[in-house]
Symmetry: C2
Subunit: 515 residues, 2 copies
């Protein structure tokens, strides 16, 4: 997010001659489509009149080369996946603690207030399901601190809902390995990139396995219905193949029946029966009913999706059902930046509370960039000073507590924005020290065009955690806790927002290098 640090590999990727670029692009375009590394095209690429049936697809935005990534950083991020699974399952299980944190935001953030309200209503009635599934993605950037001997990863955010690109990431590492194997890269690359330096990402089978474990733990329908997993989706969804690959793996590897349910159709197509089982009736087979074991949220995560009371009714409807939610409202709330902030506030006592294992806590702590509240606490007062002074603000990013991105404020824009905001609204933001990534380059192919330039990479580590909530706060039994692959997401370093689907980047794979 900051100006990148000195480029350790200024010659990477090597320049491409005309014929070489043509060969590389043709190989990439064909391999991607042949392997489902695809998206539906944007309306600016293909107008709806050209393709009213939505039958066209194109290569998902990808990098031409695997980006170089310090091996020590990759291993660091991988080594804490299990600890993060522990941490966030513990946080989501501690309603009292979470309530205190969220309580501070409710007055200034309607979205969180409404989410909390959904939880409170279900709590009053009593939760009908104690099983919880988290399919997490912890996102990092490499941080180069000139005073340290080695780079390290620093967490950008922790996603507890709708973590995307796990369905395509597996194909991107395959693509880059394929391009390497067919000699599509200049030969000079061989001193840096080898087949073993690009780790495969088993995100498709592992995320599917996480869902299969939840489905299995849910058990059989007491009413004799067939059980199924429901993917809660946006409609239309350009990134549909990302989701479909996981769905197909769930079908093929585990024999689990799956359906896609647009968020806007929840109340029409499902009902909660007297035992609070969630019953789904597919519109195409109105005489056939299924009992939903698991709802996997790929929709319903952003405030913009809750434009009507009906959307909140639908969320409550799902939350009070006996289906396992991936995630529950509490787990979604656990992923708020406010939680990240209180964990990463220097000398915070909270991390130890949830991660009693001292070694785990120490390793997780190392992945935090210092994060300050903008409230009236001691740390908050300190942060307000840093944020209002343009000289110090230049090393910080100010982020809203909400999910979804798009509203981060950088550097000298921070004091300017704060001048326009009443101080009562300042606690809706957190202040985070900028991570200083290394300078590097790549070529991004998207919408049929390639663009070469400086890039910034974000490494996402997927983790899967299934647990059973106990009676008291924080009481739980972890049934499954495993790694689920990785994502490298790469964007131009002049763009200050992430999100490949939103149009600012590409999916990538990591070429591990020793630094």
């Amino acid at each position: 997010m900051a100006a990148p640090q000195g480029n350790m590999y200024p010659d990477y990727p090597p320049p491409l001659g005309g014929e070489q670029e043509k060969y590389l692009l043709n190989s990439l375009k064909d391999f991607s489509i042949a392997h489902g590394l695809a998206v539906r095209p944007t309306p600016s690429y293909v107008s709806p009149e050209t393709d009213p049936a939505v039958a066209l697809a194109t290569t998902a935005p990808v990098t031409l080369f695997p980006s170089l990534f310090p091996r020590v950083c990759f291993e660091q991020a991988r080594s804490v996946i299990g600890a993060y699974n522990e941490l966030y399952s513990a946080i989501a299980s501690d309603e009292t603690w979470l309530g205190e944190i969220i309580g501070e935001l409710i007055e200034i953030d309607d979205f969180m207030a409404n989410l909390w309200n959904v939880h409170m209503k279900v709590k009053k009635e009593g939760y009908a399901q104690t099983l919880n599934l988290g399919l997490f993605r912890s996102d990092y950037m490499v941080h180069v601190d000139p005073s340290e001997p080695q780079p390290s990863v620093k967490q950008v955010e922790f996603n507890t809902i709708a973590s995307s690109f796990g369905g395509l990431s597996t194909q991107v590492s395959s693509l880059h390995k394929h391009l390497l194997s067919i000699g599509a890269y200049p030969e000079s690359i061989s001193s840096i990139v080898s087949p073993s330096s690009v780790p495969p990402s088993p995100s498709v089978p592992e995320l599917a396995k996480g869902m299969a474990k939840a489905h299995e733990a849910y058990g059989k329908s007491s009413g004799g219905l067939q059980t199924c997993v429901v993917f809660l989706v946006q409609d239309p969804e350009r990134n549909v193949f990302d989701q479909r690959h996981i769905e197909y793996a769930l079908n093929e590897n585990h024999g689990v029946r799956t359906f896609r349910l647009p968020f806007g159709r929840v109340l029409q197509d499902t009902r909660v029966d007297s035992d609070r089982k969630l019953i789904y009736t597919p519109p195409h087979t109105p005489n056939r009913q299924y009992e939903v074991s698991l709802i996997y949220f790929r929709a319903g995560y952003a405030p913009s999706e809750y434009i009507s009371q009906e959307a909140w009714d639908a969320r409550l409807h799902l939350e009070r059902s006996a289906a396992i939610k991936c995630p529950s409202v509490l787990l979604q709330l656990a992923g708020t930046k406010k939680v990240q902030q209180v964990l990463a506030t220097p000398h915070s006592p909270h991390l130890k509370r949830f991660l009693p294992n001292e070694k785990q806590a120490t390793e997780v702590l190392k992945t935090f960039a210092p994060i300050y509240p903008l409230d009236t606490s001691t740390a908050g007062q300190e942060a307000r000073q840093l944020a209002t002074d343009p000289a110090t603000a230049a090393r910080y990013v100010m982020k809203p507590q909400r999910e979804g991105g798009g509203n981060n404020v950088y550097r000298k824009a921070i004091p300017e924005l704060l001048k326009t905001l009443p101080e009562t609204q300042w606690p809706a933001y957190i202040l985070m020290e900028m991570i200083e990534p290394p300078a590097q380059s790549n070529v991004i192919f998207r919408n049929g065009e390639s663009q070469k330039g400086g890039v910034i990479c974000e490494l996402g580590m997927y983790g899967a955690c299934l647990w059973r909530q106990g009676e008291g706060d924080g009481q739980r039994e972890v049934l499954e806790n495993f790694d689920a692959g990785y994502l490298l997401r790469t964007k131009g370093d002049d763009s200050e927002e992430g999100g490949v689907a939103a149009g600012f980047g590409a999916i990538d794979s990591a070429c591990l290098v020793d630094v």
Copy 2:
């Protein structure tokens, strides 16, 4: 090709309600792209200005349902694959016999004359390679003869060059099985279609295996170069994924290096060295040379591709090289309809010559529809009578000897055309009794649109055969002879020409039924 006979399954496929059709189509569109069952769109679908980089793709033309196909016919066609491999390898090995057959056509068919000329030039110099690879596809229709208790298959044509759709057929049977497994078909279908009734088509791995066997038999480069397989292709090629799937299987299953070489670039990018090794220099790595073990022709099969002397020079250049050709000129010529005709002319002695095994010959003979020459032989005189009388011509199709389709003449149009042709040109055609297929229906999805209606299915059986040519005519040693999957190609029954890529049909899979 004739008006279909009575429909044995008038209720198949069942009608689809609005929601059901939507579910089926969404499932089909997503699964196909996720699994590379794709083509590049036609210019009428997507204009070149919309997608100058050719990065868009769409679902390959497919049927919504597997078409019903008599099990007895499928087994009949499968049972003769090995015999057909024997037959055509024997024909291509008998230059004297083939020369006599082709000799009759040379004066009236420039394309064959030129092909034969290529062979004669290489023969004069001496062939540099004795190994031959045939990747065949024998195409059949079901023939319902009211006087017979069971339907049987009758051969439409035998392809010895550029047999297409083997790369996509594997995915179509997977698609139909998937749609069945997720309940995308109306439940009433379950009395006819079950997972075991749709045979998988292993055409991708088996065709790749055929090439791998040839590559292996070629051996190592004596000059220390890396060996490779070259796919000779048209450029541009919309059906590229069909070819790519086989290429990827060859890479992944067998570790064979592959390149795509446009037919128009043969003379620029390859040379024949003093040992007549074919040396390929990829344009993108001009300093790196490869020795070509096998040239797989997906181009160079049609007269329209030989518009310049350079194209013929290129063909000669390849033929005289030591690379294994799939196919050689002689094998391409063996696939001419004239050969099919002389084999299928009633009481022909030729079949026994090439298939001394009587049982094999008998089974192959059963798959022939009677075919007559239009020359001045006794059978030809008989055929001329049948063809010039509109009453009898109505049961026949007249086909040019050349490959490629597009010029068949049907029924009453035959006498009309013959009136306009001098009799000296009549021998360029053969007369074939129309095959009378059963009436059936399906829904074809192509270019984003679905069309329901009566269809005609053509079953293609792939076979692979590798042999070493001996010294004398017909002398050879067969090294490999195996089945290589199937293709079902389905077109509207009002269309009288085949060819999915040409815009008249769809790829399908067979649901075997007992009749």
